[in-house]
Symmetry: C2
Subunit: 259 residues, 2 copies
DNA sequence: CGAGTAGTTGACATCTCTCAATGCCGGTGG
DNA sequence: CCACCGGCATTGAGAGATGTCAACTACTCG
C-alpha cells in the first residue's frame, strides 16, 4: 500500500546540519533487566535472541522538556525507546503550524518513520524531562545474522504503527469532537493501565493545543468538550489532571455508533 | 511508536472462516521481466537479490470488480502486488459503515497491515477487474537467508506506508474540503504519471462516496467541491473522468497554507 | 509586581452535514 | 424500441457542529 503519500508538497526544506550528536550519557542499559522489558523492544523475546539483544547495551540519552530528540530531515540512525517521560511527534505544515502525529510514553518506540528514506519525516520533542534508549537501527538489522528474529520484531513493530495510524485516520475521518476526545482519553487510560499506573486518574503532559492538533480540532473545542464531559459526569478535569468517573459511560460516548 | 491504537473498540468480530483460498491461476510471474519492476517490489534490487526474487515466481490471482482480495480478520499470508486494476482498502466502523483507508493501483503493494497480528486489520476490495501477484510473506522473510536485503526492502515498504498514513492524517486533521480534494487529485495525477499514463487526464475508479470516506467528508461535499474546482477552471469533471486544466492552480489550492 | 502562558468561556461566522429532489445513464424486460 | 428501474452524481435549503475572535482568569516565572 505505499505511494499514496501526498503529492507535490515537496517540503521546501532548508538543508541544515543534523541535530547535534546525542550527548551520550555514559549509562547503558541491558534490556533483559529493564523494568519495561515486557512492553518494549524485547517483548516476546527469550533465549538466544534476548542474549543477543542484551549484548548490544544501548546508550541512554536524556532530553529535557521542550528539547527535540530529532528533527524533521535529520539522518535516521536510531530507534528510540522511551524509558521515562513523554514525547510528542509532529510534522510541520507548509504554513509553519505543527500537526502532532503521536504521543509516546514509557516502553514505546519512536522513530520508525525514518526507515523509508533514511531521514526522519517528523520531529520528536520532549513534553517533560525524558530519558530514552538509543537503539542503532543498522546494528539491529545487521546483527540479526542468521534467523532474523530481530527483523521480525521490527517488522511487527512497524506494522503495529501502521495499524495505529489507520485507526487514527478512522478517528479523524469519521468521528465528532466528543468521540475523538473520548477515544483519546480512553487510549491514554489503557496505556497507563498497561504500565501499572492508574487507568482512572492521570496527568496530561500535553497542552490543549497539542491535543487539538493531534485530534484535528481547535484547542477551544478540546476545552469545551472536556467541560461537556465533566457536566455529563464522565470525567473530572482540573487543567491537566484527569479523573475518569464513569469509564463505561466514556466508552459508550466513544462507541456511540454501535447500536 | 506503537500502542496509540484506539482503545476499547475490541472489534466484536464474529469468528468466521478465512476467505476461500485464492483460486490459484496457473500463471506465474517473474519479477525481473515484469513491466512494473521499477515501481514494485523489485525496485532498487539487482544481481543475486533479484535472482532470488525471480526464483520465487509468485502466483497471480484475478479479482473481479466488487470482489474482495481479503477481509478484515483473515489470516495474513500474502503481500499482494497489484498488476493491473484498482483496489480499495477499508475498515469497518462499529456501526457498519466503512472507512476507506487507501486506494491501490498497478505496482503498489497491499496487505502490510497484517504483519503485526498475523491477521488483516482491513479488507481489500477490487474497484474494477484486477490482477495481483500473491507474495507469500513467510517465504519472503525466510528465504532472505544471509544478507537480508529482502527484509530491508520490506522494512522500507512498511516505513513508506507509515509516512503515507502520517501525511493522510495531516490532511484529515488540518485541511478543509478543497485542500483535501486537491491533494487527492494531485496524488492520483502523480501516481498515474509515474506509471507512464497521463497525469492530466484520467478516470476515477472509485465513487464519490468512497472518495468522501477516504477524505473524511460526505459524498455531497466531494461533488460540490469538484463543481467548485470546475468553476474555478482548475478541472474539467465529467462523472468519473477528470481533466486537470490548471495543474499549478490546483497545487496552489492545495498549498494555500504556504506562508 | 508585570509579563507571559495556558485554559475557559461567550458570541458569532462559516463550513460541512443532512435531507430531499432531480437528472443522468446503463441495464432489463415487456 | 421503449419504459422502467437502480445506482450514481448533482444541486438546493436548512441545521448543526466546529472554527474564529475576543475577553477574562489563574498560574508561573523573572
Amino acid at each position: 500500500m505505499p505511494a499514496v503519500s501526498l503529492p507535490a508538497v515537496a517540503p521546501v526544506r532548508v538543508l541544515r546540519e543534523d541535530a547535534p550528536p546525542p550527548p551520550a550519557t555514559a549509562s547503558k542499559t541491558q534490556c533483559s533487566s529493564c523494568h519495561l522489558r515486557d512492553l518494549c523492544l524485547p517483548c516476546g523475546m527469550a533465549g538466544a535472541d534476548l542474549d543477543r539483544l542484551d549484548s548490544m547495551r544501548f546508550a541512554r540519552r536524556k532530553v529535557k522538556a521542550g528539547e527535540t530528540l530529532y528533527r524533521e530531515g535529520d539522518r535516521f540512525q536510531f530507534i528510540h525507546a522511551v524509558r521515562s517521560g513523554t514525547l510528542k511527534s509532529s510534522l510541520m505544515l507548509a504554513d509553519g503550524r505543527e500537526q502532532v502525529s503521536g504521543f509516546h510514553i514509557a516502553g514505546e518506540l519512536v522513530g520508525l518513520d525514518g526507515v523509508a528514506q533514511g531521514r526522519h519525516a517528523s520531529a520528536t520533542t520532549a513534553l517533560e524531562d525524558t530519558e530514552v534508549c538509543a537503539i542503532p537501527y543498522a546494528h539491529l538489522t545487521s546483527l540479526s545474522g542468521g534467523a532474523s528474529v530481530m527483523q521480525h520484531v521490527i517488522s511487527r513493530l512497524m506494522s503495529r504503527e501502521i495499524l495505529r495510524e489507520g485507526k487514527l485516520m478512522m478517528l479523524l475521518g469519521s468521528m465528532n469532537a466528543e468521540e475523538r476526545l473520548a477515544a483519546f482519553v480512553l487510549n491514554l487510560s489503557q496505556r497507563f493501565g498497561a504500565r501499572g499506573y492508574s487507568d482512572r486518574e492521570f496527568h496530561l503532559r500535553m497542552s490543549r493545543a497539542e491535543i487539538g492538533s493531534y485530534l484535528g480540532m481547535t484547542l477551544e473545542t478540546v476545552s469545551r468538550t472536556f467541560t461537556a464531559f465533566q457536566q455529563q459526569r464522565l470525567l473530572e478535569v482540573d487543567k491537566r489532571h484527569i479523573r475518569i468517573t464513569d469509564l463505561e459511560g466514556l466508552k459508550d460516548r466513544f462507541e456511540v455508533r454501535v447500536h
